[in-house]
């Protein structure tokens, strides 16, 4: 990162690291957006089918959570462009989400929700 310069009107202007600032990879095209949406719809269909399928009852919760995580990551990465945008946005979002997951996992563990 190079040394910051100063702008009289706006204060210090920091030259950002390419990953922090403005360098971006190209966003997906419209065809890719449609493909991603079809994959998301297919995963949703599998989720619903799983919830009725007695043979997978033993692994139902982990399987559904895994599929839900895949959908979550795909929407955030591709539709919200977090995969292509500045790393700062990723950090802001992950900080909030990580804090929420940590706090509420501790809360639910305190009340023995997992072992009921």
């Amino acid at each position: 990162m190079s040394a910051p310069t100063r702008d009289d009107a706006t204060g210090p202007v920091v030259e950002t690291d390419p990953d922090e600032g403005g360098t971006h990879h190209a966003h997906p095209g419209e065809k890719q957006y449609v493909q991603i949406a079809l994959i998301l719809a297919a995963i949703t269909a599998v989720e619903v089918a799983f919830s009725y399928w007695e043979a997978v009852e033993g692994i139902l919760a982990p399987a559904l959570i895994a599929m839900s995580i895949v959908k979550f990551v795909m929407v955030v990465a591709f539709f919200m462009h977090l995969r292509f945008d500045s790393r700062l946005f990723r950090r802001l979002f992950i900080a909030g989400m990580g804090l929420a997951i940590f706090c509420f996992t501790v809360l639910l563990s305190t009340f023995h929700v997992w072992t009921r």
Binding site: D7, G21, T44
Partner: protein, 206 residues
């Protein structure tokens, strides 16, 4: 002299006419991502409250298995998922300067969002008829608060989309303001990912 450090990508971080920012990133976008990060805490609290109270209701009172209609909610989930596609297509359209398609996709997103809210309102009325309300037991109260908050977020999103449509119709949404559509889109996709979590944890996992 200012130092403009952001290089152009598939869309510009700092619109022409905006003063340079200290990070080289759009302040509005930084604010939106910070807001969405904080929203994770809100929905995290509501979801964990539901999980905490699930199965803790008095025996003999209404339970999730008595009322949930999975096929119906699956269709609602599909509608919201597809609204994320139309939203991102609206952004792509405005970034390449196609005003007509931008309006079509924004309106399609608003209509899909409104269908989701209407579906939720119908689901709530069915549940109330079945005997659920905010005070009947812990499951009912935490369910209504969680899904009600999510529905309120979708409703706010629909209002923002209709405002964008109105701005576009009056010629006040040129492609140089694509970031406005992007910001509304970020909010909209976030509402969608929250539903992805709610649908799995609340409806599908017994």
């Amino acid at each position: 002299m200012s130092t403009v450090t952001a290089s152009s990508g598939s869309h510009t971080e700092i619109d022409a006419g905006h003063p340079p920012t200290s990070t080289g990133l759009s302040n509005e976008k930084v604010a939106m991502w910070s807001f969405l990060g904080s929203e994770c805490m809100l929905f995290g609290a509501l979801i964990s409250t539901y999980l905490l109270f699930k199965g803790q209701s008095e025996p003999g009172t209404i339970a999730p298995v008595d009322v949930f209609d999975i096929p119906y909610t699956s269709v609602s989930s599909f509608v919201l998922l597809m609204s994320s596609l139309t939203m991102v297509l609206a952004l792509a359209a405005i970034q390449r300067g196609d005003q007509r398609l931008t309006r079509i996709w924004i309106l399609a997103t608003a209509l899909l969002g409104a269908s989701f809210v209407a579906g939720q309102a119908y689901e709530f009325t069915v549940f109330v008829r079945e005997g659920m309300n905010l005070r009947v037991n812990l499951f009912s109260s935490s369910f209504f608060v969680l899904t009600g908050f999510h529905g309120a977020h979708v409703t706010i999103g629909v209002l923002m989309l209709l405002s964008l449509y109105s701005l576009s119709m009056r010629g006040k949404l040129p492609s140089s303001k694509a970031e406005t559509v992007e910001l509304v889109g970020l909010y909209w996709h976030f509402v969608d990912v929250v539903w992805i979590v709610i649908f799995t944890l609340i409806y599908l996992i017994p």
